[in-house]
């Protein structure tokens, strides 16, 4: 240190960037999970909505028989849609917690640490992925109770978990972006409410794309939820299949997530300015 000449020091590139990135993300994900396990009430209240959708809406619409669902029953058709919906609804309000942390000052502390900004965001996204697993358990139990036949091959179950984790990560990162833009809880709640229903209805969650008028089908094709539902339909339900193919589903979701991650990493520091 004493050998340093006077004047400004320069930055040295970090060859262990990826290791540091994942270590930092893991540290963030870990505290989020600790907090979640300490107070899991939120997860149980999230179970109410899927029950209503499957038990009431699903039962009634099963009798309509006007929705072309191929070889599977309407109830089986909509079950992956409701899983995707509960993932969406729980992830989309993720930004509230971030605004809370900002109002306190926790984010100031994180942003002054040398941790990579994208790693801070990625850690949050990973923790949200784990939250999604709880939705999976809830929906599977519900589906069993309703007599829907599920796929139990390990690769299918793992596929469902991966798909749900990716979907949660996408919508929680999207929520983080919204939080960085609106910055206050009041505005965020309004926008969150405004976003959920259009995202849900402009997707293939409870009816196939083929039923939609062309303009709506276009919108649905731009909606990441559509690809989450499609992959789940192919992985979760006995006799179900993916319309777009898993390559397209996971490809689209992967790209959307990376784009959101980079945007959120850029906006995150503006939360404290």
């Amino acid at each position: 240190m004493s050998e340093k000449p006077e004047g400004q020091r320069t930055a040295s590139p970090d060859p262990l960037f990826l290791i540091a990135f994942f270590r930092e993300s893991a540290a963030i994900a870990r505290v989020e999970l600790t907090k979640l396990l300490r107070d899991p009430t939120e997860l149980f209240t999230r179970a109410v909505q899927p029950v209503l959708w499957i038990v009431i809406f699903g039962q009634v619409f099963s009798r309509v028989r006007g929705i072309p669902t191929g070889s599977v029953s309407y109830l089986s058709f909509m079950t992956p849609g409701i899983l995707a919906q509960s993932v969406l609804f729980s992830a989309i309000f993720f930004g509230i917690a971030v605004i809370w942390e900002r109002d306190l000052g926790i984010i100031h502390k994180l942003l002054v640490s040398p941790a990579h900004r994208n790693a801070l965001v990625f850690g949050k996204a990973v923790s949200s992925g784990f939250r999604g697993f709880v939705q999976v358990v809830i929906i599977y139990v519900l589906a069993l109770a309703m007599g829907i036949s599920l796929r139990w091959q390990p690769e299918d179950v793992l596929g469902v978990l991966f798909s749900v984790a990716l979907g949660s990560a996408i919508f929680s990162t999207f929520s983080l972006i919204v939080a960085c833009i609106v910055k206050t809880r009041e505005r965020f709640m309004g926008i969150g409410q405004l976003l959920t229903m259009p995202l849900f209805f402009a997707s293939n969650a409870i009816y196939p794309l083929s039923l939609m008028p062309p303009w709506l089908r276009w919108l649905a094709m731009l909606n990441p939820l559509t690809y989450l539902v499609d992959s789940l339909r192919g992985l979760m339900i006995a006799g179900g299949h993916s319309v777009h193919g898993f390559g397209v589903d996971f490809g689209v979701m992967g790209i959307v997530f990376i784009v959101f991650l980079v945007i959120a990493g850029r906006l995150y520091p503006t939360l404290v300015q």
Binding site: E6, R9, G105, L110, V112, P114
Partner: protein
Amino acid sequence: MNEPTVVTAVPRAIQTNNLTRRFGTFTAVDAIDLSVDSGGIFGLLGPNGAGKTTTIKMLTTILKPTSGTAVIAGFDVAATPAQVRRTIGYVPQMLSADGALTAEENLVLSARLYGMKKRDWKERVSEALGFMSLSDVARKLVKTYSGGMIRRLELAQAMLHRPSVLFLDEPTIGLDPVARRMVWERLLAMKEKYGMTILITTHDMEEADRLCGGIAIMHHGRVAATGTPENLKASVGPGAGLHDVFVHYSGGSIEEGGNYRDVRKTRRTAHRLS
């Protein structure tokens, strides 16, 4: 042996040159030149809204300067923010410890984000807890702590990676006199033990008098005066206190400053900590 011909020198802890930050047409920090030597506690004094927090945000890389430069321990905040972050510690005015975690979990999170090795941080976490008299409550949730305990935890968190410059924004705001004295005492002990440079912002003259070897008085985004407390007091007249110094250089009482937003922010922080 080829000895470098340049004179070796420890870089100044903080050196700013025309450091300026504007928000739209409002100039929060107006071309300030600060020079803080290594070691010791330096105070940025001023009323609410004087530009202290904006200055600290620029020095800690959270906010980009509109113009001018700031160099921390040899690293430029705009050109090498990552290096600056590795070198500094920061305790914001607001509540930065996570209430839903224990003290230990808060510290371990910091250790991991600063890339410390597990062997190192195990030792340092327990040392930091001991140093701040928090060992007995290390596994209790922070939301059950008193304001003084939370502040001490935040100090523990900020010193864990042994920063060479520590920034504290209003370190004792909202604390009762006993908790406040304990924070002062720990800050002085930290400076002695680890030899770090500490920059605090405060609008509390007693705090500045007790802690600071050097001070800069900020008013309307400018530095109105700098020096040691003794010199500044002597420059105003015999028997003058720091409060008189402030009135002399800024033309108003320190209690008068700040608009509605500043006051609301300060009150909210005070409320959360008590």
